[in-house]
């Protein structure tokens, strides 16, 4: 498939597709971070994670409309407001879900899978009722639209760079929160030994609730980023849950760096292959590759050996 292109053209294609894959990479990283935090804490997969992301996307859409309607002069900065709102709302919804559903299902990971799937169905229908079945798109402020010409043929989209910087900032904050802050210490204590953590005075219920909310909140931010690569519909989120989970296990569930590396390789592989193959075949090959690797190395790429 490479035979039709010259070497310099190939370089340019790889570079362009690589940059085009940046937003997908960012969405995957943010989704995976949220999922990994919840998975690490509770050992469950939140099947409604995609719907939390879409909620963030819808909030971004609403915010952009409100700004365009009432505060056109401030439209340049709406995206930051949208992100904060997206995080806040999904964070609160996440905490509510933990309180109303998840906390009854600890130790039953497979059942949680089904229950959160049920939640995702309800959320999808809710979106359909509120926003309609048609997909909605978000218009970006001008400064995010253009692209920066790196060489004659290689152009870098500005929104891609913006989202990637944002992702890095969030990833670093999460790292700091989980590994350097006092709160992160509490979370890890609860993960490692729940009764003991409780005995030394950690409010484990609160830790669970906030962790779940945080995971969902990051998914909400992912939703903001998502509006740049796709239009938002009630079922758009469902397509991402499998990919995201594969990113998490591919990277090794406990490893933040692994999550980022695996999101990068998966999104880049897909983005690059899309140029040469049809989109669906690129997806098939990417997923097959990941599933294949996982069969050879089920503990993920960056997992540790743990004592029984």
């Amino acid at each position: 498939m490479f035979a039709d292109y010259s070497a310099s053209e190939l370089t340019a294609i790889f570079a362009m597709q690589g940059f085009a894959g940046l937003i997908l990479f960012s969405v995957l990283v943010l989704m995976a971070l949220g999922l990994a935090i919840i998975f690490g804490q509770m050992g469950v997969i939140n099947m409604a994670h995609g719907e939390f992301m879409i909620l963030g996307a819808y909030i971004t859409y609403l915010t952009s409309n409100i700004f365009a309607e009432y505060m056109p002069s401030l439209f340049v900065g709406y995206f930051f407001v949208a992100m904060i709102l997206a995080f806040g709302v999904t964070f609160l919804l996440g905490m509510a879900v933990e309180w109303g559903l998840i906390r009854f299902l600890y130790k039953r990971p497979l059942d949680t899978l089904l229950a959160t799937w049920g939640l995702s169905l309800i959320l999808q229908q809710l979106y359909r009722t509120i926003f309609g079945a048609r997909e909605v798109g978000v218009s970006l402020p001008d400064w995010m639209m253009g692209s920066y010409a790196l060489t004659d043929i290689i152009e870098v989209p500005i929104n891609g760079i913006f989202v990637m910087v944002l992702t890095l900032v969030i990833a670093l904050s999460v790292y700091w929160l989980m590994y350097k802050s006092g709160w992160g210490r509490q979370v890890r204590a609860v993960v490692q030994n729940r009764p003991m953590a409780s005995a030394v005075g950690i409010n484990t219920e609160k830790v669970d609730r906030i962790t779940f909310g945080l995971g969902c909140g990051i998914a909400g931010i992912a939703g903001s980023a998502f509006t740049m690569i796709g239009s938002t519909g009630p079922t758009s989120g469902q397509l991402y849950i499998v990919d995201t989970f594969l990113v998490v296990v591919f990277g090794g569930a406990q490893s933040l760096l692994g999550t980022i590396a695996s999101a990068f390789s998966i999104s880049q592989a897909q983005s690059t292959m899309e140029f040469f193959l049809s989109g669906s075949m690129a997806k098939v090959l990417t997923l097959l590759f990941v599933v294949g690797i996982l069969m050879l190395r089920p503990q993920g790429l960056f997992a540790m050996k743990i004592r029984h």
């Binding site: 497979l110 049920g118 309800i122 669906s280 098939v284 599933v291 069969m295």
Partner: protein, 401 residues
Amino acid sequence: MMHSLKQIFPRNDVIAFAILAVILAVVFPLTMDIFRLNLVGKYLTYAFVALGLVLCWGYGGILSLGQGIFFGLGGYCMAMFLKLEASSPENTAIQSTPGIPDFMDWNQLTELPWFWEPFHSLPFTLFAVIAVPTVFAFFIGVAMFKRRVGGVYFAIITQAIAAILTILIIGQQGYTGGVNGITDLRTFLGWDIRTDSAKYLLYFVNLVLLFVCLAIAQFVRKNKLGRILVAMRVREERVRFSGYDVSNFKIFVFCIGAMFSAIGGAMFTLQVGFMSPTFVGIVPSIEMVILCAVGGRLSIFGAIYGALLVNFAKTSFSETFPELWLFAMGALFISVVLFFPNGLASLYQQYVLPWVQAKFKRQPKAIATEQKAKTEVKSASQKTDDDDDSASLIAGARYEN
């Protein structure tokens, strides 16, 4: 092989078999028109999948979110045979390449792909309906269980495979019929499957196959193998140290589940007249799990009733309030998990059965003591609540039926 029949089919189960047989083979055909009966037949093809899930998930603790893969593979194998029969050169004379399925012609194929060739033969097709999905399940099982991938990981990876297969089927339109699937199926060895009489006959063929699968499931669960599955679900490591290769048992039960699903898929194609990727992917696969959960994940009869009930509800909901169906479905997932983890079967055990037994006053002593013992288990297990999840599982054991 000198199993006493009584051991495999205790009296209570024989009665349950008989009741189910009467409902499906007598009551439904007498009270429903052929349109409704055909619908029931369609629902019952999902019951095959649910039955397989009872063994895999309820007994073995392996949750597959990809049973649509096997349902679809079985269904597609059957559909390929029927499509070839419907695409005889006479029927397709107007195509630019007569004698190949219409969708291939539309996609500029001029030759039947090699993997379609053997599906001219009925014996091969029947063999493939069973073998292709089972062998595929075997490979997935070996790759996963030999490396001790289980639980949530297994669930999501099977889901990923279902997604891959769907994308592949949709993407390879010329070979698979794409998103529309394989449609316009007409005859089976020259016998028109679209007539009412054919639908009647197919309904009963479907029933016979369902009862064969039920009998197989009953045989598996009432044997030592069934007890090993139950043991494995909670104490996988102990089973290993009792000298069993746990992965082989998982592979076996996963293959059985795949085989059941495939039979269901093939019967679906015959009764409904088409097969499409909408029955393969993530959504149908997880819906099949809820059929099993509603019926009771430990009850092979519950699986059948669950499949019927949920699908009846789905049909009547989508006819009257289509927008409410997803809400209802979501609520069903949540409430079954939260409030009825053992499904309808547990309600039956708790409320209906005691009432029936009191009514007829001929409850055998053995059952009475057994139930007493099991109630004690429950109270005992509540005392040792902190002793991991065994408590809920002991309680769960009460509903095995």
